[in-house]
Every structure is written in structure tokens, then in C-alpha cells.
């Protein structure tokens, strides 16, 4: 496996990109990280993801893979020997995939964005739903150290990048996620003790600055 060519086209605040960074780090795969300027997308990005023109794109030995949930499964299947992310039992895999899909729809989805991009009643409704979804995830975590059990698994990799965005959400929404979901925050901090996670997530202050910049660009108060 020594001469594999792995390139990641990414954008530093993207939680989708962070998932791929964490998965590659867990598998101890060396790769070339290429930062994309989304206002001026590179020819490589447009060639490798012509349909969506989005990051992250994983280029493995010249062949592109797109969509972050697809990436995590692909990385797990190509490099199965270290840090398996999905369990072997089909039913446990189905549970992991279900929660991965839930995270994508409910935490990373358009509705949750309203927590920072709106005000008043709309924002309050978005906050309420956001917290409800986090609580459901807390329920799934239960007393386990990680969603994957003793070690990081698929759901941990899929969800934890969002932790870097929590501070921005709290400031914009004027609430404390830790007060509402202490177990989930404890889980996130536990994940951050791992290099594969802490080195893949940007600093939360930088994310907050980025969100403020987005609000300015979109003319949001």
C-alpha cells in the first residue's frame, strides 16, 4: 500500500471535509491536502466533481470519489486493517448507517442552519428542533464512550466535525448546547483527545469568525 496516491480537495471550515480528514487519519493514510477557494474553484475540482462541483473530493490513484458519507465507507473498505469504522455485523452496520443518515438530514441539513442565519420565532423554532435532534443522538450514545463502542466508529466520524461549529451556533443562537446536552459535549471532548479528530477540526473561534463573515456576505443581521 506504500505507493498510493491520495489527494483530498477540501475547504477548511467544511464539516463534510473534516469527516474525510478524520477517517484518513484514523487509518494513518498519508495524503496531499489541497485547499479550495470556493469562489474560484480549481480546474481539478471541476474535472473531478463535474456534477456537483463541491468539496470534499477524494482522489485515489487518480480516480475521484465524491460525497462525504460515501468517502467514509470507501476509506473503511479500502483500508480495512486499521481502525475499522463500521461494525462487521449487518444489523449493527444498519444502525450506524441510520444514525449517519439522521446526522446528515437533521444536524447538517438546511433547517439547522436557521439557528445562525435567522432571528426571532424562526430562530427559536430552529433551536428547539436542533436540540431535540442532539438529544436523540445522546439517547443513541447511551453509556458508550463512543457511538462506535470502545473506539471511534462511523457515526462518531460523521457527527464530531460539527462540534467545531457548536460555539458559533451558541453565540448566534444565544444558548448553551452543553446545558441541554451534557453527555454529547462530554463525548465530543473525549473524541477531541484523539489526534485524528483534534488535528482535523479547526479552532472554534475561527469557525465563529467564518460564520460572522457568512452573515455579512448574505446580509444577515
Amino acid at each position: 500500500m506504500a505507493d498510493e496516491d491520495v489527494v483530498l480537495l477540501d475547504f477548511w471550515p467544511s464539516p463534510f471535509g473534516m469527516r474525510v480528514r478524520i477517517a484518513l487519519a484514523e487509518k494513518e493514510i498519508k495524503y496531499e491536502y489541497k485547499e479550495e477557494d470556493l469562489r474560484n474553484k480549481s480546474d481539478l475540482l471541476l474535472k473531478m466533481n463535474p456534477i456537483h462541483k463541491k468539496i470534499p473530493v477524494l482522489i485515489h490513484n487518480g480516480k475521484p470519489v465524491c460525497e462525504s458519507l460515501v468517502h467514509v465507507q470507501y476509506i473503511d473498505e479500502i483500508w480495512p486493517h486499521k481502525s475499522p469504522l463500521l461494525p462487521t455485523d449487518p444489523y449493527q452496520r444498519a444502525i450506524a448507517r441510520f444514525w449517519g443518515d439522521f446526522v446528515d438530514k437533521k444536524i447538517y441539513g438546511l433547517e439547522s442552519r436557521k439557528v445562525w442565519s435567522t432571528k426571532g420565532e424562526e430562530q427559536e423554532a430552529a433551536k428547539k428542533e436542533f436540540i431535540e435532534c442532539l438529544k436523540l443522538l445522546e439517547g443513541e450514545l447511551g453509556n458508550k464512550a463512543y457511538f462506535g463502542g470502545e473506539n471511534l466508529g462511523y457515526v462518531d466520524v460523521v457527527l464530531v466535525p460539527f462540534y467545531s461549529w457548536f460555539y458559533a451556533y451558541e453565540k448566534c443562537g444565544n444558548f448553551s448546547i452543553e446545558t441541554e446536552c451534557p453527555k454529547l459535549i462530554a463525548w465530543a471532548k473525549r473524541c477531541m483527545e484523539k489526534d485524528s479528530v483534534s488535528k482535523s477540526l479547526p479552532d472554534q473561534d475561527k469557525i465563529y469568525d467564518y460564520v460572522l463573515h457568512l452573515k455579512k456576505v448574505f446580509g444577515i443581521e
Partner: protein, 225 residues
């Protein structure tokens, strides 16, 4: 095998249909339970899918699996004969990419094009045509997305190839037409003509009035909004 397999579904749901087709392709015997999703969802459905409260739900030896794509992956991994996903990880990743494209872009936009108001329809229709063009490129001269035989992408694309075609008929629009998208149109014919597909698709004469009613309701709700 003494396996107990049950499927909670709805006869007109394209999502439900995927799960049924997958079980049939694997030759798995199952008990089908039709849920009254527009009226009264059963206690069992709410028990097995408390988060989304939707069909389909697959129950295997008492354990529930939920979300149509999760169900399809589960069926593939549990009953390994007649595989409908490629073995090679890269080809598998490609299949999963197309599945996501169909579910997140193609199908929702086509459905929107069917019932949106006149003034919005053109924009949505143009977008839908772009997606159909892209989807057609995935066929790349093959009979099915899965190659010589039906694969997981074909199973998921049934929502476009059959359900959307029925919807188009009602609305008198012809997006997925033989002259605009010859390869994709041919695929939808070949797919619907497979015996295993034919025997499990909801019949057109029942589906037509049902979708008509659904569209009327969507238009009504949208007019109120």
C-alpha cells in the same frame, strides 16, 4: 431458515417498493403489512420507527431496520447471493454516488416539476432535464445501471423510471421522453419489463388516480402556504 422477515410498507410508495424489489431479487420470503400512512399509522410502525415514523420498515427476526437505502444495504449484506452492489470498493462508491444523486436531486426535482405552479414550472423543469441528462450519462451504453443485470442504482432509479413516468402521464408533461433521453427511456422500458419487477410494481391503473389525488393535495397545500 426459520427466518422471520416482515416489511411494513405502503403500496404506492416508491421507497417501500425498493425494499420489496430487493427482497424479491434475493428470493427472500416475507410478510407484507400495508400501513395506512395517510390515516392511522399502526402502533407497531410507531414502535419500530419512533424517530421518523415512516415506511418502509424491515423487521428481521424481530429487529427493525429503517430508511430505504439503509434497508437495501442491509438486505445486500445479509443475503449475499444475487448481489446487487459491485464487489470493488471504487465501483461501490460510484453506485452509492448515483443513488444519492437520484434521491437528493433527480427524484425530488422531477416530482416538484410535476406539481409546481405554472410560473415556477419552467425553472424547475429545466433543472429536472439537466438532472435527467446527467443520470442518462451514468448508463453509459449499458442495459441497466448495474450492467447486464439490475443493480442497486436501478432499484433506486425505479422512483424515476416508473413512478415519475406515471406522474408525468397525469400532468400531461413529457420530461422523460424517448426523443429527449433515448437511453434513459429505453432503460425504464427494459426495467419495467423484467418479470421480477413487473410482478411487484404497483399497477398503473391504481397508481394513476392515487398520484392525481396526491398532486391535487400538494397544489392545494402550496397555494395556501
Amino acid at each position: 431458515m426459520g427466518e422471520e422477515v416482515k416489511l411494513f410498507g405502503y403500496w404506492a410508495s416508491p421507497y417501500s417498493y425498493r425494499a420489496e424489489l430487493a427482497l424479491k431479487l434475493k428470493g427472500v420470503s416475507y410478510e407484507y403489512i400495508n400501513e395506512d400512512i395517510f390515516g392511522n399509522k399502526s402502533d407497531l410502525l410507531l414502535k419500530y420507527n419512533p424517530v421518523h415514523k415512516k415506511v418502509p420498515v424491515l423487521l428481521h427476526n424481530g429487529k427493525p431496520i429503517v430508511e430505504s437505502l439503509v434497508i437495501l444495504e442491509y438486505i445486500e449484506e445479509t443475503w449475499k447471493h444475487n448481489p446487487y452492489l459491485p464487489q470493488d470498493p471504487y465501483d461501490k462508491a460510484t453506485a452509492r454516488f448515483w443513488i444519492k444523486f437520484i434521491d437528493e436531486k433527480c427524484f425530488p426535482t422531477l416530482w416538484l416539476a410535476a406539481w409546481s405552479a405554472e410560473n415556477e414550472r419552467e425553472k424547475v423543469t429545466n433543472e429536472a432535464c439537466e438532472y435527467l441528462k446527467t443520470l442518462e450519462s451514468a448508463l453509459n451504453g449499458k442495459k441497466f445501471f448495474g450492467g447486464e443485470t439490475i443493480g442497486m442504482v436501478d432499484i433506486v432509479a425505479s422512483s424515476v423510471g416508473y413512478f415519475i413516468r406515471v406522474t408525468q402521464e397525469i400532468m400531461g408533461i413529457n420530461l422523460l421522453s424517448a426523443d429527449k433521453f433515448p437511453q434513459l427511456f429505453q432503460w425504464s422500458e427494459d426495467f419495467a419489463n423484467c418479470s421480477i419487477v413487473k410482478e411487484s410494481l404497483p399497477p398503473r391503473d391504481k397508481l394513476l388516480p392515487f398520484v392525481k389525488g396526491l398532486i391535487a393535495k400538494y397544489q392545494q397545500d402550496n397555494a395556501k402556504a
